[in-house]
Amino acid sequence: MKILASLARGSLIGYTALFFAFIYIPLVLIAVYSFNSNPINMMTWTGFTTDWYAQVLGFKTAISESALYIESTDQLVQAVWNSLMIATSTTTIATVLGTAIAIALYRFDFFGRRFYRVVMFMPMLMPDIVLGIALLIFFVNAGVNLGLTTIIIGQCTFLISYVFIVVSARLAGMDRTLEHASADLGANEWTTFRRVVFPQLLPGIVGGALLAFIISMDDLVITYFIAGVDVTTLPMFIFAMLRRGIKPEINAIAVMMLTFSFVIASLGLYLRSRQK
């Protein structure tokens, strides 16, 4: 029995190690090879360099022009800038609307409330490509010029759902008697919301906002359909690069995006632990 138990324990540890290896080794490899100086075959290590980062960031490097395939750092910077602007706008809109809907559905009982809730979940379950095509057809038929505005509107349609779900979960865990206690102690509804409901909801709102921000920064499929010809976001830019072959600069960009996402996620976790 003792052997069996230790065997089970050993295989559990082994499984866990394999599981994490499966998830993280590709990411670790990207990070490592982003410092590989071999310009032809990324997977063959020839030496350490930070040239790819320098190249991506627009500094002059020792790499010969023929080995490069970022024609213009300006384009990349413009794509990053577009993505950040879109993510900031959509996050703001989705957070305000998603939170408001979550509170309304939690607080008020009205006809069709449960149907409303299902409708709010729908955009998350819908295939991205269908949503993308639907939005494209809608915008074209409505005569809206494709561009930044359509991307922001289009992304909001599903980002609101994410914020709604995160904030709803927080609301569901809230103690209703706290609102009673506040009213009992003389606070009207607005004061109760400001002093009791909102502070408790804040970690959920922040969490929902960070999630919306990362998803917006990351979205390719839906944005691709509704971006038009003039606006390029970072994921679209990377995708376009990939179509011309996998080159070392991709690794550098990927590592920078990864770091950015990691910082945002850590910030979310930190805020959450501090609020608790």
């Binding site: 103690d175 008697t177 009673h180 009213a183 009992d184 102690l185 003389g186 502070p199």
Partner: protein, 360 residues
């Protein structure tokens, strides 16, 4: 008439159940609570006591009737405009605020200046024995301490009336008993009326000036703890408050004859007709051979030692259950009957309470 702080006039409330039935939570209740009175609402769950409390605090809207506080009709006022504060069953402390902020909440909302707030918070916390704890968060406190913060928070604005919704039910027994005494002391110091809701009859008897026993949305009896215990108006009150032996039968000239052939002697000689006799278990004593007191012969089924007393569970010849409580100081007598498994339980006819039939 005594000076009334709260008056309920024909307060009525019914709820619809999910199955489509209607449950009467408050059945046209009239109630007067005097200034500086400690009133307890006692009853089993679902008797309407919490509904009654919430009607006063404003969280339940009445179907009919009025509520007056200090002569003012507040029936249609929202909870935040009533001069009433509540200590909630689960304390309902704001988890994101410190003890100090929690306690100051009512003053802050009312726009009291910071300096005065700080001083009054310190005073309130001192009253409940938590001086210097302003900076802690509720989750860093024990259950008993949280209870005290809830109390300090509810009394800081000097409400005209404090409502307490089973506030001690989550505490362990020793702490609960200590808090019972403290609450009573605090109420005297503050000079405000308390309405206390509980389903624990011991708690009700210990603390209250008056007890209202509720059942089925009605006040079955409103009286001092002693009167509730000694002279219950009906058999519900008799059985809900304390242990009891009830004998229903026909009263004729100082005797009550039951259908199973017992005869209970009582002091209400002039009472005739159908009635129920109540003998509390502690009224019984073990009869000596030369005792002239009336008695019941029982076969003992069980003798339980509970520390200060022995509880005797017996049956009469006709099979009726009888409970008696014998002080532990009489343990030599208990030793004797333990051998024979039979006992003659005597009682004083003056200690027998008669409940007339219409009330039972």
């Amino acid at each position: 008439m005594r000076d009334s702080i709260v008056r309920l006039e024909k307060a009525a409330k019914a709820f619809a159940t999910p199955e489509g039935h209607t449950v009467t939570a408050l059945d046209a209740i009239d109630l007067d609570v005097s200034r500086n009175e400690f009133l307890t609402l006692l009853g089993p769950s679902g008797c309407g006591k919490t509904t009654l409390l919430q009607a006063i605090s404003g969280f339940v809207e009445l179907d009919a009737g009025r509520i007056l506080i200090d002569g003012e009709d507040i029936t249609d006022r929202p909870p935040y405009r009533r001069p009433v504060n509540t200590v909630f069953q689960n304390y309902a402390l704001f988890p994101h605020m410190t003890v100090g902020e929690n306690t100051a909440y009512a003053l802050e909302v009312a726009g009291v200046a910071k300096a005065e707030r700080t001083k009054r918070v310190a005073d309130a916390l001192r009253m409940v024995g938590l001086q210097g704890m302003e900076g802690r968060k509720p989750r860093q406190l024990s259950g008993g301490q949280q209870q005290r913060v809830a109390l300090a928070r509810a009394i800081i604005a000097r409400p005209k009336l404090l409502l307490l919704d089973e506030p001690l039910s989550a505490l362990d027994k020793n702490l609960r008993q200590a808090m019972q005494i403290e609450l009573k002391t605090l109420q005297h110091e503050l000079g405000i009326s308390f309405i206390f809701v509980t389903h624990d009859q011991q708690e009700a008897l210990t603390m209250s000036d008056r007890v209202a026993v509720l059942s089925g949305g009605r006040i079955q009896q409103l009286d001092t703890p002693r009167a509730i215990y000694d002279q219950p108006k009906n058999s519900f009150v008799a059985t809900f408050v304390g242990a009891s032996n009830l004998f229903e039968g026909e009263a004729i000239g100082g005797q009550l004859l039951t259908a199973d052939g017992l005869s209970i002697t009582h002091a209400k000689v002039q009472t005739t007709g159908t009635a129920t006799a109540l003998i509390r278990p502690e009224q019984f004593f073990i009869a000596q051979p030369d005792d002239a007191a009336p008695s019941l012969d029982v076969d003992l089924e069980q003798i339980v030692f509970v520390g200060s007393t022995f509880e005797l569970f017996g049956r009469t010849a006709a099979g009726r259950r009888v409970i008696a409580e014998i002080p532990a100081t009489r343990r030599n007598l208990v030793g004797e009957i333990e051998q024979s498994r039979r006992a003659r339980l005597a009682y004083d006819p003056a200690a027998v309470h008669l409940i007339p039939a219409e009330a039972a």
